[in-house]
């Protein structure tokens, strides 16, 4: 049996020329379902976000941060909105297993934006770490969710985050108590699998308590080739001296659109590391907004994007140095083939009192064809004088001298090119601190650069068909 979303009161197909109005209309009609079990505090934040969305609507290329990224053609689809609670218990391994074979993780799955679990929606590990559904967490630990929810997501500046906040229902919740080190990485698998064009808005909240340590691996996949639009918000709070590592792997179908809004709030001496690898994805916009609110924070951010055909990837990084003695570093690298377009807009703001700041920013692109386009804007805004800030950006092609060197040693042009591209990507891949994951990503990158990677590689069900086809979930087994 094929999973078909049944027609219900909570569902509506909307014409997107008026998508904003319809969304607002839907909100009015289905308030109860949307508000669900959210705490009054969350609903207040929701109401504020809704008013922002009502005022600003979807972002347009007139906005500085969306200059080269136009959502309009993407929104021109008859999306299916589903606000009925579909979080459920099911054996997720039946449909999907991560194939990073040696990676031992606490794995969590979101299917079409809804939480899918084996036993309980919310688990408390022996060390006190809470992992599970955000909706459930709002019921069970309202004091935690109320303290953090919406405190990092800047709905005033980010239109898409406002939209997500207005419609927040479920997503991932993680709380690592003070002093706890989570020994295994926590893995979040975000699967989109629907017959209809879906519009999804998962919401994640990650809290790392004082002196705690955690690693989060976040994978975005789509199992079908249907049109989908995902707009996620992730808030990460790193309390004093906490260490958070966040890996994100995006390997989605050509027809999928993904906007991720990642907000990170860092307290004193905290350490946050992110690494975003975009292997495939029709349209991807990653917003990373980091606030270094207290002294001595470390913040490192890496990104790699390998795009071809007419894919579009936009990485927007904003780092607010609001306190002295913080260090931040950004390195984003990309290889663009065919008619792909990559946008990088980075901004480092160093506030007046943020003395002794060290901030570096680097974006490097390789264009393989004349139709590929790279737009890069590494911006610095500095109001403190005792700082060391630098930024650099390059757009170019493979070094002909290096090419000659490899060719003169008997490598064919194709191999030489691949070798150089793999080395180019290697600078980012080598920054991955989990060995198994690094190996796997290295492998994927190599396959990707050889043109052998399709989204089917990610799935272990290994259907017999060689073609990457629509993948149907057999709901009867669930």
């Amino acid at each position: 049996m094929v999973y078909k979303p049944e027609a219900s009161d909570h569902m509506d197909t909307i014409q997107t020329t008026l998508i904003k109005d319809r969304l607002l209309d839907l909100f009015e009609k289905q308030q109860e379902a949307i508000r669900g079990s959210a705490t009054p505090m969350v609903n207040r934040i929701r109401q504020h976000a809704l008013s922002r969305f009502r005022k600003n609507g979807f972002p347009t290329p007139q906005l500085e941060n969306w200059r080269f990224t136009d959502l309009k053609p993407l929104l021109n689809t008859e999306f299916v909105f589903d606000f009925s609670n579909k979080s459920r218990s099911m054996d997720i391994e039946k449909i999907f297993t991560c194939d990073v074979y040696d990676l031992d993780t606490f794995s969590i799955t979101l299917l079409n934006g809804w939480f899918v679990y084996k036993n309980a929606p919310l688990t408390k590990l022996t060390n006190g770490t809470i992992i599970g559904s955000l909706a459930k967490a709002m019921e069970v630990y309202p004091e935690l969710t109320d303290q953090y929810f919406g405190r990092a997501a800047k709905v005033e500046q980010h239109e898409m985050a406002a939209l997500n906040t207005a419609f927040v229902q479920d997503g991932l919740f993680i709380h690592v108590p003070d002093g706890v080190e989570v020994e295994k990485p926590i893995q979040l698998i975000n699967i989109v699998n629907a017959e209809h064009p879906v519009f999804l808005q998962p919401r994640h909240l990650v809290i790392a308590g004082k002196n705690s340590k955690m690693t989060l691996v976040h994978c975005d996949h789509s199992l079908t080739h249907n049109v989908s639009f995902t707009n996620t918000v992730m808030e990460i709070f790193a309390e004093e001296n906490a260490t958070v590592e966040h890996y994100k792997i995006q390997n989605k179908g050509r027809n999928s659109a993904l906007v991720t809004n990642n907000f990170i709030h860092q307290k004193k001496s905290s350490n946050v590391y992110t690494n975003m690898v975009t292997l495939n994805g029709g349209f991807t916009k990653n917003i990373l907004d980091i606030t270094l609110s207290e002294p001595e924070c470390q913040s490192e951010h890496y990104g790699l994007y390998l795009v071809d055909s007419n894919q579009h990837v936009d990485n927007q990084v904003y780092i607010d140095h609001a306190a002295p003695d913080c260090h931040s570093n950004q390195l984003y690298k990309g290889i663009l083939d065919d008619e792909a377009r990559a946008v990088f807009s980075g901004k480092v703001l160093v506030r007046r009192n943020a003395q002794r700041t060290v901030a570096h920013q680097n974006n490097k692109n390789i264009l393989l064809t004349d139709d590929a386009k790279a737009n890069t804007q590494p911006h610095l805004e500095i109001y403190a004088d005792d700082v060391k800030c630098s930024h650099g950006a390059t757009v170019g092609q493979l070094d002909p001298e290096a090419m000659f060197y490899l060719r003169s040693r008997g490598l064919c042009e194709r191999t030489a090119r691949q070798l150089m591209m793999i080395a180019f990507a290697g600078e980012v891949v080598s920054k991955i601190n989990i060995e198994a994951l690094q190996e796997r990503i290295q492998h994927l990158v190599e396959k990707r650069l050889k043109g052998e990677l399709s989204i089917c590689d990610q799935c272990v069900l290994h259907c017999n068909s060689k073609e990457p086809t629509t993948f149907n979930i057999d709901m009867s087994k669930i």
Partner: protein, 482 residues
């Protein structure tokens, strides 16, 4: 150490504007306000050909549909365009053959600036076309230029004598539709300079124009047009200082440069309009559109600028590299002090094959000023093998100032290479220590370091200008340089 260095910085950066004096020359002014009548008045006053009036009116009508841009990283009170005076000219319309006939008061003004006209004349043969409040009052070395067929005169004179050249080239690089201030300038420009270098001529002199804003409450709308025909060469210099006035003065100039095949134009400018007092009161608003086009193959244009003045600067000398193998350069030193705000940089638009551009920008911020670099490098699909290198460094003196860098890189083909580098830092304690350890006092050490920092750009200025540039740098950061 810290305290002492702060004190010296304060002294260094706290000096008052030295060129603040006001020359009392009678003015012939248009009534304040801007209507089609004002434009007709200006045009009639200057006895302009019909096409010029048409152009002005078209620009004015377009300007009325535009909104003042707000994207620049500067803040200033809104300009009341209807309160400004759009035309003011010295009443005695002088037509001098020699400097002796020039109003002695005017000559004195230039002497106060330290660069008297006659000294200029002697200095390496510089032809000076001095502009005081919009109308040219003296030209020198005309004869030498005439012998080579070079036309160098005021814009109004060119309109009378060479209307066909003006008609052909004016607005071809900066159309009146370009932006808010370009439209305003196109509608009301008072005067400016025109230089035409015929085919194959290497201009024997360095052309130089001194601009000054004089009357209070006067918008200054200069317009410069430089046309370099095939195989020609010219070095053009423009410098400006402005007297102390309490009300903000608007300066919205346009500079257009056209370089044909194998031609080379070197444009250097020192800008030292009055920056306002320590509290940011008064000062000139400098909203300038400067653009050059390398029309033919192997053409080259270079911009060199030293920006020390103006309360608010909004200036992006740009280049369109249209001809194959053409080259563009941009060298800039921008110093901001007290409450000054500068948003300056360049645009390099690569259209032709094998085009090259270099950008070197050095920002120095002191006091409570804000200094931004904003630059665009764009290569289109056809600009094969285009090459750009940009370096934008910022130096911060004091902990109340800001230095910002906003580069935009848009690359549209695979064979072009675009690189951007930037650093922001304060004067290194190590360098200071090194200098002082060798017996140089704090002030001298700061001067040495700042001078060395800007040298890469200052060395690109023509010799005569380099002297003035250093002088201005030292006035802006008193005692630290020279």
């Amino acid at each position: 150490m810290e305290n002492e260095s702060n004190k010296i910085l304060e002294e260094v950066t706290g000096s008052e504007y030295k060129y603040g004096f006001y020359t009392d020359i009678e003015m012939d002014q248009a009534p304040p306000g801007l209507t089609e009548d004002t434009i007709r008045f200006i045009s009639a006053k200057k006895k302009e050909p019909d096409f010029m009036l048409e152009f002005r009116l078209k620009a004015f009508r377009h300007w009325q549909t535009l909104k003042e841009p707000e994207w620049a990283h500067v803040k200033y009170p809104r300009i009341k365009y209807q309160d400004l005076i759009y035309y003011s000219a010295p009443r005695k319309q002088p037509k001098y053959d020699s400097l002796d006939e020039v109003d002695p008061e005017l000559l004195e003004t230039f002497e106060k600036l330290g660069i008297p006209l006659d000294e200029q004349k002697a200095l390496a043969g510089v032809a000076v076309d001095a502009v005081m409040d919009s109308v040219s009052v003296g030209s020198t070395f005309k004869k030498t230029l005439e012998e080579h067929g070079v036309i160098f005169c005021s814009f109004s004179e060119a309109l009378q004598k060479h209307p066909e050249l003006i008609k052909k080239h004016m607005g071809s690089v900066v159309p009146y539709r370009d932006n808010f201030f370009a439209a305003l300038n196109s509608a009301v420009f008072s005067d400016g300079s025109f230089a035409y270098i015929p085919k194959g001529v290497r201009c024997p002199l360095e052309l130089s124009t001194y601009f000054r804003i004089n009357a209070a409450n006067t918008g200054q709308f200069e317009r410069t047009l430089i046309v370099a025909e095939e195989g020609s060469y010219v070095s053009y210099m423009e410098g400006c200082t402005a007297p102390v006035r309490d009300e903000n003065q608007l300066h919205a100039a346009i500079v257009e440069i056209i370089a044909h095949k194998d031609a080379e134009v070197k444009y250097s400018t020192v800008q030292n309009w009055w920056p306002g007092d320590k509290e940011g009161k008064g000062g000139v608003y400098n909203f300038v559109t400067k653009r050059g086009i390398c029309e033919g193959e192997n053409a080259k244009i270079s911009w060199t600028q030293v920006e020390t003045g103006s309360a608010v600067t909004w200036k992006y000398p740009s280049l369109v590299l249209k001809g194959d193998n053409s080259a563009g350069e941009f060298y800039s030193v921008a110093v901001t002090n007290n409450m000054q705000q500068a948003d300056t940089g360049t645009k390099m638009i690569h259209l032709g094959k094998n085009t090259r551009s270099t950008i070197i920008s050095k920002g120095i911020s002191a006091g409570r000023s804000n200094n931004s670099y904003r630059g665009l490098v764009k290569t289109t699909r056809n600009a094969e093998n285009a090459r750009n290198f940009s370096q934008c460094d910022s130096l911060l003196l004091g902990d109340q100032c800001g230095a910002h860098t906003f580069p935009y890189l848009d690359v549209g083909n695979r064979s072009s290479i675009v690189e951007h580098e930037a650093t922001t830092s304060k004067i290194s304690e190590d360098q200071l220590f090194y200098c002082m350890q060798r017996g140089i006092d704090m002030e001298g050490a700061i001067g040495l370091i700042v001078n060395g920092y800007a040298k890469e750009v200052l060395s690109k200025l023509p010799m005569e200008f380099a002297v003035e540039a250093q002088k201005l740098l030292s006035i802006s950061l008193e005692g630290s340089v020279g």
